[in-house]
Amino acid sequence: MADKKKSGGFFSDLFAPVAGFGVTFASQFKKQYTEEYPEEKRPTAPRFHGRHQLNRHPDGLEKCVGCELCAWACPADAIFVEGANNDDAADQRFSPGERYGRVYQINYLRCIFCGLCIEACPTRALTMTNFYELADYRREDLIFTKEQLLAPLQEGMLPAPHPMVAGMEERDYYQGKVAKATPEQEQWVREHAPDIEDGMTPSGDPVLATDPVAHGQQATRPSTEGVRR
């Protein structure tokens, strides 16, 4: 009689066939762990490697000097940089100092988000954001150009090109002596780029709203030549 079935009492036998549902029922009242992703996004870790950003100096000049160290550091060959000379005489001053990055492209289908490029960057021009929603329909759309990568204008910034702060040299920018765009720079931009005249307020956002380059309407990948920025 070794296989005699053990009885667990009247109620235990009665509810045995449905006991499993008790687990299901009880789990309704447990805490939910699901992240309701598209509606509620949990923040990433602060140093999460997301989309890149090309930073600006406090007066709006670009930090990128077109040195191509990021492109050299990239293990996947995802970055293409082409430098050019700043030219005050021709109103082409994009960064303090001698050179600026004229063409800057990152192929996000090659990029492995390792961060070697931002480690290589000598001016902290290239950093990474926490943005990660990059899926797209076309391969070409995932090559981000300089216009898409440039940081939005903050308060006190003016869109490049414009002259450096009067009396300052390149070194002063890196020593933090430049706090924001001066009235002379504002005047210069108002004279040389009348299409963004409305955006001359101290807050940066109106500048973005009227700047066609910031909206990506002007500069597309094949014709980076002759683009204002």
Partner: protein, 184 residues
Amino acid sequence: MANEHPEGSIILDTVENVVGYLKQYSVWPTTFGLACCAIEMMAIVSPDTDISRFGGERFSATPRQADLMIVAGRVSQKMAPVVRQVYDQMAEPKWVISMGACASSGGMFNNYAIVQGVDHIVPVDVYLPGCPPRPQMLLNAVITLHQQIKGEHLFGSTRKAAARAAEEAALKAVPTHEMKGLLA
């Protein structure tokens, strides 16, 4: 509207919208992973980022019952015919998500052993960067695909017209192996 949809398919247009809406929430992926991206792909079935909220938790064990192929990982030259066969075995309509840098473009493996983008062998609908993409990024790609499925033309003359337009666009497009610059 009459010009947009010839041959009087105005009623079908509404039906298409309804069917498209229903269809986008029943996309079944294939059980199919090639490398490290597959680990992140498994994570989207977990309670944390639950793909069953979008009707995709049923990873099909046979390609014949699957709608979506998530190419998760690098595709080696040796694996390429297998990937293509899995795609061919899937029933229409079918979609492909190229997950991660390696599947999308070869990533950092620019060498003789790896196919430089799975779009060399199968048509890709959504490209997803990342190495590997976090589960939320894959969910975002799935949602991006849902947007496409919702707008697809399914019936009658509109379907034929859409197929014809897609074919013309594909014939005009530059072949992937002829792309230059960062696209290469």
